[in-house]
Symmetry: C2
Subunit: 104 residues, 2 copies
């Protein structure tokens, strides 16, 4: 699965998630599309989002979302699964994610 397996996947504690990072992450339309699909169709591996970008670019967007505290990832066989940290995000920034996604 690439070199990023030895360094285990790290996720920020929800208390350490910064609004700056969340907003910057959601300011990108590809990343909003990822979040929207996670809400609409549930947890899914990276390769199933159908975005028109190279695999390496996709990987970059998933990392941005994970480091911002928006998604959680784990490995399952040869794929990497993604889930939205919606409950945690709503506890920290109530209603924010929904409002952003509603906005377009």
């Amino acid at each position: 699965m690439g070199l990023g397996r030895w360094v285990p996947l790290s996720h920020p504690d929800i208390a350490d998630v910064r609004l700056d990072d969340v907003l910057r992450a959601l300011a990108d339309p590809h990343r909003r599309a990822i979040v929207r699909l996670l809400i609409a169709e549930g947890d899914r591996p990276c390769g199933t989002f159908g975005l028109p970008v190279a695999a390496s670019t996709l990987s970059h967007h998933f990392r941005a979302l994970r480091q911002a505290g928006i998604i959680r990832q784990w490995d399952e066989g040869r794929q990497r699964m993604n889930t939205l940290r919606l409950d945690e995000l709503d506890a920290r920034f109530p209603g924010l994610v929904a409002k952003v996604l509603d906005a377009d």
Copy 2:
């Protein structure tokens, strides 16, 4: 007031305001502070925000907010006034600005 007086102040039509730009503009804490002060204390000139940055940097942030469609500016004597386009923003992205400002 500087060279930017001959090119008159331009503000995007609210219909042309893009979510990407609004989120990117609000992802900066100095710019959120500007918006928050406009809500709390009403329209005010650029020099009255008390941010710990150089005047030229402040100017840069006001331009970012204006071009994103978040504030409207006009000249009054030797100062440049600022107002939040909150009604327009709420018509376009209902509740978004309030949610973002509430979030921290």
